[in-house]
């Protein structure tokens, strides 16, 4: 019989992280992150300008990947110098702020795939962050979103594309659950993006030839689904060669379309083709090949295989090292953080955080801007569920993660314009029609499950019509203009015209909202230590800081005023009581002036009523006194106790904190205390009143206890506490004596 583990272990087994798979290192299967015994030692021999040996392999034994890199991918002029550098010496250059980025780029040009992998493997996590900060191509970080839904619904795609643009994403990537819908999705997202903001790049990820076709028509503005693999076997299984990819890359260039390639750890392992090599070494081959074929950028950092990397020791570190290799090869990095790599919120945050803090050309190569269930790439590491988290993390660290708060009050109007634009374009081009009810549902929908029944065939018909009639970006722009969507029309046209200039073909290019190209050329990263490199502009910093949940004292003053009522009126200076049954409830200076509601949501007058009822139960005579000289609840309570004939007082702050005091005790001592104001209930206040009465009669009641909660109650309420204290402070008069209050029951 298997012995059951103890409760502690059973409890730990139930935690979400244990839904994840963790693999023992197995180099034979390629389940190894940074080093495998099968990884070749770096080597390079050049005879008469021809590479005759690379990474322990002789020229005659080169596979197609070796061959392409050896011919096109290496700067032989610096190879001797670069290959002679020790791994540690080279790695130190990566993190030394005194060594310019351009010097790293120059040297890495002469490094073979095995050499670059070895150098990057030396870098520890904080050093990877330093290297990323310094080596990324573009100064200004940015982010990419997924915009998809289960139904390929064009209205929802457009509304969500506009929303993603409003949240600051500069690239939107869509794809299809039904391949034949692709052209419709491309048009819907392009239209929605144009309604949302100028200069948003759009992609529809499908198979290579169809993606190229949509790109050439201008229905999308960049391409990314051009996959590279680290072993020849898997590359060929993917139905491509380095030369076919090179030709495809040039095909995109020929039409002025931005493109990057995709690779990343785990793909070879999943296809049982890793040849015993480490993930880092295989990815180094992909990155070298990306550079060799002339792609301007790489999407890597695991991608679909991210959870494979994350399953092995040092796997998450390997994912970040992949991005750093891309940057060191002078390419645009679209840094993974897309496929959900863990069921654990802690692990998935840990996977992304160093990259968010360091900044990348695109921090996520697909932040799911829609809900998890609508993400047709599969759930991302970050999804609509997490946008507010992302915004808060940006604000916490003061870093630019590419997002901003879309004003909640404007989103409805924006989404309405997006769905109307799609309806009008589809109608004008004879692609289909939508009802007002469909539009309204798409505007309000948080996801496709909110849409109700839709017509899947209508999407298919629209897609076929777009493809079959050869519609281009010009037709879309014209239809937008003819139906009164002038701004979106101008934006769609501007993206098409950008191709004529071609400036966005340079490394790491995005457009800002004024259609200026930010790239390696126009916005180079020149980080050289503290005080240099990217710093958000004051306007951008204000966007990062100004999340919609921010509250200040004035917000709270308004909120408190809405509960104002004239139930407490002053009837002159408070007298000293003489009756032994006399118990005084002291309230803080703001009560009934600036503060009317406690943190638990109870009105202060209701709290007072409970206290009074409790005292009455015990046969006590109660008075209410406002203590004007202090906001300290201990002093309020002690002052009340000193006024009371019984010597027992209750102190109550406007926020709801309450205690029982006795006149002979020091201020910080007390008999009973409720410090957890947000979680207090009417019954608890009533008990406190009753206990005060029992103390007054000389009894020793069982003390009232603070309720316990394991929630982050302080995170929830501390900002309100600070504001409430400020409101109370406004009412303090150190010279003013306590005043008697007459109390009218709010509900009579």
């Amino acid at each position: 019989m298997v012995e059951q583990p103890v409760g502690r272990v059973r409890f730990m087994d139930e935690q979400r992280v244990n839904l994840d798979g963790f693999a023992r290192e197995d180099p034979a299967l390629g389940l190894v992150a940074l080093h495998s015994p099968a990884d070749p030692a770096p080597s390079l021999r050049v005879v008469d300008g021809i590479v005759v040996e690379m990474d322990q392999k002789a020229r005659d034994d080169f596979d197609t990947i070796d061959r392409y890199i050896a011919v096109h991918g290496l700067d032989l002029a610096v190879a001797d110098e670069a290959m002679a550098l020790g791994d540690v010496a080279a790695a130190r250059l990566f993190v030394d702020p005194a060594v310019p980025r351009s010097e790293i780029i120059r040297l890495v040009g002469g490094m073979t795939p095995a050499k670059l992998a070895r150098v990057v493997a030396v870098l520890r996590p904080a050093e990877l962050m330093m290297a990323m900060t310094k080596l990324r191509a573009r100064r200004t970080p940015s982010n990419q979103a997924h915009v998809t839904n289960l139904l390929d619904d064009p209205l929802l795609l457009a509304a969500d594309a506009a929303t993603a643009a409003a949240y600051g994403f500069r690239e939107l990537e869509t794809t299809v659950p039904v391949l034949a819908d692709a052209f419709s999705n491309a048009v819907a997202v392009t239209v929605g993006a144009a309604v949302g903001a100028a200069g948003v790049l759009v992609q529809c990820a499908v198979e290579e030839a169809m993606e190229l076709e949509m790109g050439m028509r201008g229905l999308v503005s960049y391409a990314e689904t051009v996959s590279l693999y680290g072993t020849e076997g898997v590359f060929i299984d993917g139905d491509d060669t380095p030369w076919s990819k090179a030709l495809l890359t040039s095909g995109y260039a020929s039409r002025g379309i931005k493109m990057r390639v995709s690779s990343g750890a785990g793909a070879e392992v999943l296809m049982a083709g890793a040849e015993g090599c480490s993930m880092l070494y295989l990815e180094s081959r992909c990155v070298s090949l990306a550079r060799a074929i002339g792609a301007q950028g790489v999407q890597n950092g695991g991608i679909d295989g991210a959870s494979v990397a994350a399953a092995v020791p040092r796997g998450v570190r390997e994912l970040m090292a992949e991005n750093v290799m891309v940057m060191a090869r002078n390419l645009e990095s679209c840094s993974g953080n897309d496929a959900l790599m863990s069921e654990s919120h802690v692990r998935r945050t840990s996977r992304t955080l160093p990259i968010l803090l360091a900044g990348s050309d695109y921090i996520c190569s697909g932040f799911g801007s829609i809900q998890r269930y609508d993400n047709m790439f599969g759930p991302s590491n970050w999804n609509a569920e997490d946008i507010d988290d992302w915004l808060a993390i940006q604000r916490d660290w003061g870093v630019d993660g590419g997002l901003r708060t879309a004003s909640p009050s404007s989103l409805g109007e924006l989404r309405t314009r997006a769905v109307e634009a799609v309806r009008d374009v589809y109608r004008a081009l004879g692609l289909g029609d939508f009802t007002d009810e469909q539009l309204a549902k798409a505007v309000d929908a948080a996801g496709s499950k909110d849409l109700g029944a839709t017509d899947a065939l209508a999407v298919l018909d629209a897609a076929q019509a777009i493809r079959g009639t050869g519609l281009t970006a010009l037709d879309i722009a014209r239809a937008l203009h003819d139906t009164g969507h002038d701004e979106a029309a101008a934006r769609v046209l501007a993206m098409a015209v950008a191709r004529v200039h071609g400036d966005h073909l340079q490394t790491a290019a995005i457009f800002d909202e004024d259609m200026r190209v930010l790239s390696l050329v126009t916005d180079p990263n020149e980080y050289a230590g503290p005080g240099t490199g990217y710093e958000p502009s004051p306007a951008r910093q204000a966007e990062i800081d100004g999340i919609r949940q921010e509250r200040g004292v004035e917000d709270l003053r308004v909120s408190q005023s809405s509960f104002a009522g004239g139930y407490l009126t002053s009837s002159g200076p408070a007298a000293f009581g003489t009756d032994p049954r006399d118990v005084v409830i002291g309230v803080s200076p703001g009560v009934g002036r600036t503060v009317w509601q406690t943190l638990s949501g109870m009105l202060v007058v209701d709290v007072l009523q409970e206290l009074l009822d409790g005292l009455e139960e015990e046969g006590c005579l109660a008075r209410i006194v406002r203590v004007n000289s202090t906001i300290d609840v201990g002093m309020v309570g002690l002052t009340a106790a000193r006024l009371a004939g019984s010597g027992i007082g209750i102190g109550l702050q406007g926020k709801g904190t309450a205690l029982i005091h006795r006149r002979d005790l020091p201020p910080l001592a007390n008999l009973e205390l409720y410090s957890m104001a947000p979680t207090l209930t009417p019954e608890m206040y009533r008990l406190l009143g009753a206990n005060a009465g029992r103390h007054a009669k000389g009894a020793t009641p069982v003390p009232a206890r603070n309720p316990y909660t394991d929630e982050a109650i302080e995170a929830r309420y501390h900002t309100s506490v600070i504001s409430l204290v400020a409101l109370e402070r406004d009412c303090v008069d150190p010279a003013a004596a306590p005043e008697q209050l007459s109390f009218q029951e709010p509900r009579s």
Binding site: T64, R67, V71, H72, G73, D75, S102, I105, G109, E208, A209, L212, E213, M216, R217, G218, E232, I236, D239, D240, T241, W243, S244, A246, L247, L248, T249, S250, G251, Y252, A253, S254, R255, G256, R291, A292, I293, G294, A295, N330, T472, L474, A477, R478, H481, D486, A489, L493, A496, V497, R499, V500, H501, G502, D503, L505, Q506, T507, L520, V521
Partner: protein
């Protein structure tokens, strides 16, 4: 200021022109000279491979979308014989696409060595 593939200056590519039906797809296509200029920029910024890609791209502007997709297909694994690839290279060279022709020839040699010909 760039000019489009059609020769039209970029400043003429306006919404007004669109509405007057004066814009055609070739007016929003990149001109090979522009790709050459971008190649020079890429070279200056430490990426000769990107420059080479732009130059191949400049050559491919002379070909239709269908042709480019056909070239890509021909270069996929085991799609073409040696003769077919050589014929393709000749065709590219004949239409003023020498670097693309060289790429295809290089592929043919590699495919022969690695068993990737049809």
């Amino acid at each position: 200021m760039s000019r489009a593939f059609s020769g039209k200056p970029a400043e003429d590519l306006t919404v007004e022109a669109l509405v007057r039906d004066e814009l055609t797809p070739d007016d929003v296509r990149i001109h090979p000279a522009t790709l050459e200029a971008q190649a020079a920029v890429a070279e200056l910024h430490g990426n000769p491979q990107l420059a080479a890609n732009f130059r191949r791209g400049a050559e491919l502007t002379r070909f239709s979308e269908t042709e480019i997709i056909a070239f890509y297909e021909a270069l996929r694994p085991r799609r073409s014989t040696m003769d077919e690839l050589m014929a393709l290279a000749d065709q590219l060279a004949a239409r003023d696409a020498p670097t693309c022709a060289a790429l295809v020839r290089e592929a043919a040699t590699a495919y022969a060595a690695r068993g990737l010909l049809r």
